[in-house]
Symmetry: C2
């Protein structure tokens, strides 16, 4: 007997018909004697409709009330999924995030899971129920309803798998797994059989839409092996797990493109200790995620320098306003903000033991006439910011350079 956590996204539960299909799949596993926990998102479109309703009333609604509002989306799905299982004579009980023992901090709309007390889930599983848990939500110690932000349902699934010591965690989505690149943009892209947490993490943080990085981080931290697979067929997906020795044979695992980034450049920032820290701390405190940060050394001690960083596109206006408010205090020059960029990245644990990877990437870009605006590297990835208009062309060129050969995986 295995304990399996399955997560189904909004598209997979987008209609009563699809919920019935999810129930059929769950029922199949249940019939084999496995214990099943199902985590579901809101039906596709529901969350957007709720947001629209709220914004009709007020453009910037209070975040605590947005959590109260949005939590209803997943609550609706869990009840309907339980009912669909009952229709198949499978015992099933739905639980809200709070009922499943998911405790978060109090940062509304972007809460973090602090701990999970899965006693009730275990009890229900032991009584042979399928337990259906609302993804994306939790409750503070004070009983406030919270939501976990983007990708929150994946996080719920991974965190529950960790807390329940599940044997398997399956993330069902509308794609077959993790690809070497987005197949809609790169015709030669191929599905990967497995990928390391670190590679997945980089791909996630780099905009591959399969999963948010926080869920992968959580899985890595707690050693939760999970599979990303499709709810539309029975094909095996991609296994995400700790890095194995042979994984390093492949230099580049995948190429990703993130069009959701925007760039902010502060011109002529005083070259004094602590200035960049103050700017980025203020941005962090406003809960704006900063991704790439580039600061060149100044041309001579004490001379001002430029500071560039990227933020999520929707946060650009908020970031700009915040930066403006810091200007009198810190005394930098102009602020240049643009959302006309994209971030292109290559990822692979094999980079650690291979040289010349960045050079090969830049060469591929140069041959396409693509200008590089920012560069950022880690042990297992190289990212560049390029002009949005040339981004897809650049991606195909880079994929061809590293992964053009179908045997590469």
């Amino acid at each position: 007997m295995s304990l399996i956590v399955q997560k189904y996204g909004g598209t997979s539960v987008g209609s009563p018909e699809r919920i019935r299909k999810v129930a059929a799949r769950v029922s199949h596993y249940h019939a084999q004697g496995d214990q099943i926990v199902v985590v579901v998102s809101a039906m596709s479109g529901v969350t957007d409709n709720l947001i629209k309703l709220a914004k009709e009333i007020m453009p910037l609604p209070n975040e605590r009330e947005m959590d109260m509002l949005l939590a209803t989306g997943e609550q609706t799905t869990i009840a309907l999924t339980a009912i669909a299982l009952h229709a198949l004579k499978v015992p099933a009980v739905s639980l809200t995030g709070a009922q499943a023992g998911i405790v978060t901090d109090g940062v509304h709309t972007k809460a973090r899971i602090q701990n999970i007390t899965p006693d009730r889930v275990h009890e229900l599983l032991d009584a042979r129920n399928v337990v259906i848990v609302a993804g994306f939500q939790g409750q503070t110690n004070e009983g406030q309803i919270t939501t976990l932000g983007r990708g929150g349902s994946d996080l719920t699934a991974i965190a529950l798998a960790a807390a329940l010591k599940a044997d398997l965690c399956q993330i069902y989505t509308d794609v077959d797994g993790v690809y070497t690149a987005d197949p809609r943009l790169v015709p030669g892209a191929r599905k990967l059989e497995e990928i390391s947490y670190d590679e997945m993490l980089e791909l996630a943080s780099l905009g591959a839409k399969v999963m948010q990085s926080r869920s992968v981080e959580f899985a890595k931290k707690f050693g939760v092996i999970f599979e990303v697979r499709s709810s539309l067929n029975d094909n095996p997906g991609t296994i995400v797990k700790e890095e194995a020795k042979n994984m390093e044979d492949v230099v580049v695992r995948g190429v990703s493109l993130d069009k959701n980034q925007a760039k902010v450049t502060l011109v002529a920032v005083p070259d004094q200790p602590g200035v960049a820290a103050r700017i980025l701390k203020a941005i962090g405190e406003a809960h704006i995620n900063v991704d790439m940060i580039v600061q060149n050394i100044s041309h001579g001690s004490g001379k001002p320098t430029d500071l560039s960083f990227t933020v999520d596109k929707p946060d650009l206006l908020k970031a700009e306003k915040l930066i403006d408010s810091l200007k009198p205090d810190i005394g930098f020059g102009r602020v240049i903000a643009t959302d006309n960029i994209a971030k292109l990245s290559i990822v692979g644990v094999g980079m650690k033991s291979h040289t010349g990877v960045a050079g090969k990437m830049f060469d591929a870009l140069a041959r396409e006439g693509v200008n590089i605006e920012m560069i950022s590297t880690s042990e297992i990835k190289v990212s560049v910011v390029v002009d949005l208009a040339k981004a897809e062309q650049a991606m195909r060129a880079v994929h061809a350079a590293f992964l053009g050969n179908p045997k590469a995986t």
Copy 2:
């Protein structure tokens, strides 16, 4: 400073625009320095849509899961109402039934409030917030989400008013108050300025759609004076309160018609002690509400007799099946079930001290050629079951006989 509980029904919060209007009204009271608790229903149509979704998946969905599902309706409204108040710069916090401290028993879809611990509501009020509470829902001591059944939001408002020792409880609805009869059916019907709990109770239980009897019972038990009024205008409504001496001057306060009843007749029931009790106990245990019960004496000791009773129309099939299952054990004859009836009633505390009221009613019916199928009386009401086809005509005749004179109230 007064503490006011206001309840708004589904029509009053049926769109973002209407929610804004509710917020404007609430804001007006708040500006006067009053403490305001707002109880809201699901937006009109939402509950029906959720039920439809569930029934698409399974015709008879599990009641615990229906509660999980339906509770989202009110939760959506409280968040939107809070946001609408924020838009008017009024501090407001929404609470689910559970968060507001409403504890119920575990009878899903028809739960009863067991107690309310309104500490959190008081805290929020003391900090000058408008507190918006989800009507219709609560939580068991074990943390299961429950709903209170039909008219549940009224009950939430009345029960909160009692627990908070509110100065005033206003039930906002889409009618101006309580009328001598449904004005859509009886052109001469007039709005009442006040009415006693007992009269309101009879009217409610008799199908006047303004309020469910359980809410009025609760108000009577805890002495909560409340006003039924319209959310569409500023007209004063009808005050519902303990009976006052001068109320008895009016013999008949109102006439009501309930088309939601169905009749079950058990033919040739053995005339032995305890038989009727066994039948009605079984029905009660199935949570089917029985309203009128009529059993004629048998024509000679020990001879079988007929037993008739009425149930809510939607429960008729369930009741019939249940009765059939009792047949082998109890040994009665045929079962006749029909939903082709209506119940017509006159109500007034003045009946206690006036004679000939029933006779006058039967006389009015006879003159219209309306046959009386069942009769049931209490101290302050007379009800008759009549043919559905003649029900409205009968109602107008009875209203004319007792309340035809505009000075009657």
